[in-house]
C-alpha cells in the first residue's frame, strides 16, 4: 500500500500545474451556469486549450488520439485541474467520458478517425440518447425503432432526459433493431448508432429542470435517416457496447468532483465560524463527519484507480460502490450548507443553493441508487437476480 506518487508522476503534476497557472487566466469569464449555449462555448474553448497543450484525451489510448496516460496520471490531472479551479468537462462530458471511449474501444478505424479528433479538439460535442419515457431504469425496454432501408436506418421514436441535446452535434443513440419477443431477452435487439443532430426529422424540446435550467431535453425522432456506416458494433449487439460505455461513465466520472466537495467543505467551515453556526454542536460535528466522508471517498478513489491500473486500465465495478456513497454524501454536504446558511439557503443568488438543487439529481442520473444497489448485490455479492 503506497500513497506516494513516483518521481515521474510528480514531474507530470508539476508540468500540469505550471501550464494551468498560465492557461487559466486566458479563459473568458465563467458563463451563467443556467445558460447552456454559453456554457458550450466556454467548455469547448477550454477543451481546445487542453488540446493545444497536449492534455486532451489524456486517458484515451494512443491509437485513438489520446495520450495513453496511466490511471494515476489521469487522477493527478483531475485533482490538479479541480484544485486550480479549471472548468469541469461540462458540455464535453458525453464525448470525452463515454461516447469517445466507446468508439475508441468498439469503432472501426474509419469511425475513430471521423469522430474522435473533433471530440478531443472541442469542435464537436455529443449527447446521450439512451433513456426513453418508458425505459429509464429498465433501459433494455427501449422502443425507438430503427428499420433498415438501403444504406440507412430509418429511426422513429422518442428519447427523454437527453442532457445538452440542444447544443449537441452528435448523439450516441440506442435503438431497437429486433422487436421485443417473449422468448428472447429484450436487450438482444438493441443497436448503438451515432446520430448527427442536424438530420431532418429530429425535434428537440427542452425540459426545464427543478434548478430552472434547460439542461436536458426530450427528443422526438420521426423517420430520421442514420447511415448504417454510423453503427458502432454489430446490429443487435448494442447492449454489450453500452455496457462498455457505462463502465466508463461510472468509473471516472466523479473523481474531480470529490476534490471540489472537499474544497466546498472547507469554505463551509469558514462560513460557519464567521456566522456563529459553528457553536452548534450538531452542525460542527456534522461538518467533522463530512470531512471523514470526503477524505475516505478520495482514498476510495485512489484505491479504485490503483486496482484498475493493476487490472490493465479497465474501470472496475468498484465504480458502483463509489457512486452510491458519493451521490448521497454530496446531497448531505449541501443540506449541511443550508443549515449553516440558515435563511440564506433560500436565496438562489447563493451558489450553494443552486448546487444543492443540482445535487438532487445525483442519486438518479447514471443509474438510480436503487439500481446501483441491485448491481452491487448481484454482481459483487453474487445474490440471486430479482424479477
Amino acid at each position: 500500500m503506497d500513497l506516494t506518487y513516483s518521481e515521474e508522476e510528480e514531474a507530470f503534476r508539476a508540468r500540469l500545474r505550471a501550464w494551468l497557472s498560465t492557461a487559466l487566466p486566458e479563459l473568458p469569464p465563467r458563463p451563467d451556469p443556467l445558460d447552456w449555449p454559453a456554457r458550450r462555448a466556454y467548455d469547448t474553448a477550454w477543451q481546445r486549450m487542453l488540446y493545444d497543450a497536449g492534455y486532451a484525451g489524456l486517458h484515451w489510448p494512443e491509437e485513438a488520439g489520446g495520450r495513453g496516460a496511466t490511471p494515476t496520471q489521469h487522477l493527478i490531472y483531475l485533482e490538479e485541474t479541480e484544485k486550480a479551479g479549471a472548468p469541469y468537462v461540462g458540455a464535453n462530458f458525453v464525448g470525452l467520458l463515454h461516447a469517445g471511449p466507446t468508439v475508441a474501444a468498439e469503432g472501426t478505424p474509419g469511425q475513430r478517425a471521423r469522430w474522435l479528433p473533433p471530440v478531443l479538439r472541442g469542435d464537436e460535442i455529443w449527447c446521450q440518447g439512451f433513456s426513453e419515457p418508458d425505459a429509464g431504469s429498465d433501459l433494455a425496454a427501449l422502443r425507438t425503432r430503427a428499420v433498415r432501408d438501403g444504406d440507412d436506418y430509418v429511426v422513429t421514436g422518442s428519447k427523454i432526459w437527453t442532457s445538452h441535446a440542444e447544443v449537441a452535434d452528435w448523439c450516441e443513440l440506442l435503438v431497437r433493431t429486433a422487436p421485443i419477443a417473449e422468448d428472447t431477452p429484450k436487450h438482444r435487439g438493441i443497436t448503438w448508432l451515432a446520430m448527427p443532430m442536424d438530420a431532418p426529422g429530429i425535434t428537440v424540446r427542452p425540459l426545464r429542470t427543478l434548478a430552472g435550467s434547460a439542461e436536458f431535453a426530450e427528443m422526438f425522432l420521426d423517420e430520421v435517416r442514420v447511415p448504417v456506416a454510423n453503427r458502432v458494433g454489430a446490429e443487435n449487439d448494442g447492449w454489450r457496447v453500452t455496457m462498455v460505455t457505462l463502465s466508463f461513465e461510472r468509473g471516472t466520472a466523479f473523481v474531480g468532483e470529490v476534490v471540489a466537495c472537499r474544497r466546498t467543505l472547507a469554505e463551509l467551515a469558514k462560513t460557519a465560524q464567521r456566522n456563529g453556526s459553528w457553536d452548534d454542536n450538531a452542525v460542527r460535528r456534522q461538518l467533522g463527519r463530512l470531512n471523514a466522508e470526503f477524505t475516505a471517498l478520495w482514498r476510495l478513489t485512489q484505491w479504485n484507480v490503483s486496482a484498475s491500473q493493476r487490472g490493465g486500465g479497465v474501470p472496475g465495478i468498484g465504480g458502483s460502490v463509489f457512486k452510491l456513497r458519493y451521490s448521497h454524501a454530496r446531497q448531505e454536504l449541501y443540506d449541511t450548507a443550508a443549515r449553516v446558511l440558515g435563511p440564506g439557503a433560500l436565496d438562489l443568488a447563493h451558489d450553494w443553493t443552486l448546487d444543492r438543487l443540482s445535487s438532487l439529481s445525483y442519486t438518479i442520473a447514471a443509474g438510480t441508487s436503487q439500481i446501483q444497489r441491485n448491481i452491487v448485490a448481484e454482481r459483487i455479492l453474487g445474490l440471486p437476480k430479482g424479477r
Binding site: 466522508e293 477524505t295 482514498r299 484505491w303 436503487q370 453474487g382 437476480k385
Partner: protein, 285 residues
C-alpha cells in the same frame, strides 16, 4: 502511487487468518462465551506469531513491520472476534516486560471504560475507584473508571481495523444467509429489500476499508479519526443489518451476530468515540 496490498501484505493477512482459524475457530469462540476468561495459551501463541511485537524493530526482537501491517492483522482479529486487550498489549510491546511475546497481558485505563482489568498483569493509567460493570459483551469484561482519555491515535486506528474486520464478517454472514434461506419459494437474497441491506453493508465496509488503510499509511491523526468514525459506523450498522437479514434466528444467542454487535458497541466507545472524532475532524477543517 499503488494503493493496493503488496504480495507480502496479502500473505501476512492470510497467515493471520489461518492461525486464527486453527486456534480460535467458531467452536473456540462459543466455548469462550460460555467460559469467559483470557486463554493464556492462545495469548502466547499470538505472541509467538509476532502479533504483539509486529512493529518492534528487529534489533529489539520484533518483526520490524509498520502500522499498515498491524492494521491488517488487527482486521483479522476483529473478523474472528478474538477477545482480550489486544490493542493495549500491542502498544505496550517493547516497554512492558512480557508484552511482546504474549507472556503478559496489558490493559489501559482509557477514560470512562477499562477492559480486562482483573485479568491484566500490568495496568496503565488511573483505575482508582474502578467499578465493575455487567458488560454487554460476554467476551469483554469492563470496569467503569474515571480517568481521562488517553488519545493515542494508533490505538484508535487499531480498534478501527478490528471494526473493519467485524464489518466485513457480518456482511459475509448476511450474504451467505441471504443465498441459503428460502422463503416464498426463493432465496431471500432475491428480494430487493434484503439485497439493498446487503449492498449498503458492503458499501459501508469498503469506504471504511479505504479510510483505515489510508490512515495506516499516512499516520495522520485527523485521517485516523475519520477512519475510526467510519469503521465504528460500518461495524455497528453492519451487525444490525446482519441481524435483520437473519430474521428470528438473528435474535438468538446461538447466532454469532449479537457478539459482533456487542463488541462493535464496546469498541465504538474505546479510544475515540464518534463525537470525539467528529470534533477533531471539524477542528481540522
Amino acid at each position: 502511487m499503488d494503493f493496493q496490498l503488496t504480495p507480502d501484505q496479502i500473505a501476512l493477512k492470510s497467515g493471520m487468518r489461518d492461525l486464527l482459524a486453527a486456534r480460535f475457530d467458531r467452536e473456540a469462540l462459543r466455548a469462550a462465551v460460555e467460559r469467559p476468561g483470557l486463554d493464556r495459551s492462545l495469548w502466547r501463541a499470538l505472541g509467538d506469531a509476532g502479533f504483539f511485537a509486529l512493529r518492534l524493530p528487529e534489533s529489539r526482537g520484533g518483526v520490524g513491520l509498520g502500522l499498515p501491517e498491524a492494521v491488517l492483522v488487527f482486521e483479522e482479529a476483529g473478523r474472528a472476534l478474538l477477545p482480550g486487550p489486544l490493542v493495549a498489549t500491542h502498544l505496550a510491546a517493547g516497554t512492558e516486560p512480557g508484552a511482546a511475546d504474549g507472556e503478559s497481558v496489558v490493559t489501559w485505563a482509557d477514560g470512562p471504560l477499562t477492559a480486562w482489568l482483573d485479568e491484566a498483569d500490568h495496568v496503565w493509567g488511573d483505575t482508582e475507584g474502578a467499578v465493575p460493570l455487567r458488560s454487554v459483551d460476554p467476551l469483554t469484561p469492563l470496569h467503569r473508571t474515571r480517568g481521562t482519555r488517553t488519545h493515542v491515535p494508533e490505538a484508535a486506528l487499531l480498534a478501527a481495523a478490528e471494526q473493519l474486520g467485524s464489518a466485513s464478517r457480518t456482511t459475509e454472514l448476511a450474504v451467505q444467509h441471504a443465498k441459503e434461506r428460502m422463503q416464498f419459494g426463493r432465496p431471500i437474497g432475491a428480494f430487493q429489500a434484503v439485497k439493498h441491506l446487503c449492498a449498503d453493508m458492503l458499501v459501508r465496509t469498503e469506504v471504511a476499508r479505504a479510510a483505515v488503510y489510508a490512515a495506516a499509511v499516512t499516520e495522520d491523526p485527523d485521517e485516523i479519526a475519520g477512519a475510526k468514525l467510519l469503521a465504528d459506523d460500518a461495524a455497528v450498522r453492519g451487525a444490525r443489518d446482519c441481524l435483520q437479514v437473519h430474521g428470528g434466528m438473528g435474535f438468538t444467542w446461538e447466532a454469532d451476530v449479537h457478539l459482533h454487535l456487542k463488541r462493535a458497541w464496546v469498541r465504538a466507545e474505546q479510544w475515540q468515540s464518534a463525537d470525539e472524532a467528529a470534533e477533531v475532524l471539524a477542528r481540522s477543517l
